[in-house]
Symmetry: C3
Subunit: 130 residues, 3 copies
């Protein structure tokens, strides 16, 4: 298992980690397999979506905040229930294919760390199965 460290800078932020993941996959020298990218946290998520236009990321954060409001009558007293809920619906891991030692992504796809309760020092765990 490999670990990647990511420092987030805002309370809510979608960070494109495609390059970091792609480099790590190359390093691991697996010709063919499936790579698992796993967040060990409970207030951020991992997702794959459009990386070209930065407005997409803003629209995702804005809309999630509309139906999972950061401030509400939550019972959990740490003030980050919304981040736990978003983490559950986005998911805390993704899998991507590896072929010829390289990550396989669709033309418009990027791998995202979804920060919902930052800024924090996050890590992701990586494992490839062949």
């Amino acid at each position: 298992m490999e670990t990647i460290k990511i420092k987030t800078n805002k309370s809510q932020e979608i960070i494109d980690i495609t390059h970091t993941i792609a480099e790590k996959i190359k390093e691991l020298k697996v010709k063919d397999g499936v790579c698992f990218i796993y967040s060990p946290h409970t207030t951020c998520g991992v997702a794959i979506n459009e990386g070209a236009d930065p407005t997409v990321k803003k629209d995702i954060i804005n809309k999630l905040n509309k139906f999972i409001e950061p401030e509400d009558n939550y019972l959990h007293l740490e003030g980050n229930s919304h981040a736990h809920i978003k983490s559950v619906i986005c998911g805390n891991s993704v899998s991507v294919f590896v072929e010829n030692y390289e990550i396989m992504l669709g033309r418009w796809q990027s791998v995202y760390l979804m920060e919902f309760d930052g800024p924090r020092n996050r890590e992701l765990w990586i494992k490839i199965i062949n």
Copy 2:
């Protein structure tokens, strides 16, 4: 890695692809493993849910449109931000078990392609690990 091609016919549509996936798994002649079904797109999703009653699919699309409205003050100018957001929360891949060369699904489960920005020619990538 295998590729399956699916033509969608509506702007939003849930298509049952169980049969196509099951056939592809049989073709690949893997006795025991996990099959990954991966969408390389950013405005559709892949999910597993009830296939028996077609009203379930309609209820899913209708409700998603209630809290992720197709038209809103989105910043992304292509008019499909709602589809990106739905793709993030549904996820762009699923995994199913393979035993005795066959897909393992629960009694009521079907594999769905979730089209949120069609009609389009979509493809899914398939890989089995044993």
Copy 3:
């Protein structure tokens, strides 16, 4: 493929199944791999999130019920459309890493069965790939 049985007690309930999964993984004596936890149902989900404070679970259920209301003008006549929709957005499977024969989870993470249409007798399918 292994099977775990879980009896749920309420119509909606988040059940911490970490201990059961961890024990099953130990039993399977796989030194290093990825464990897949798969729900063969269509009205419950599987997720990984915070296990320490029980109010987080309540906040998740309460908020999901706000934007995916149990009662609405659903077309599906069984009265559980909300549960199908929640199952789609939470997902029906998770994967966790196995190292030195043990489940790898983040400090605050628990594995959850998300019951959206109980009480029922549920089962989860488990497979480890190394």
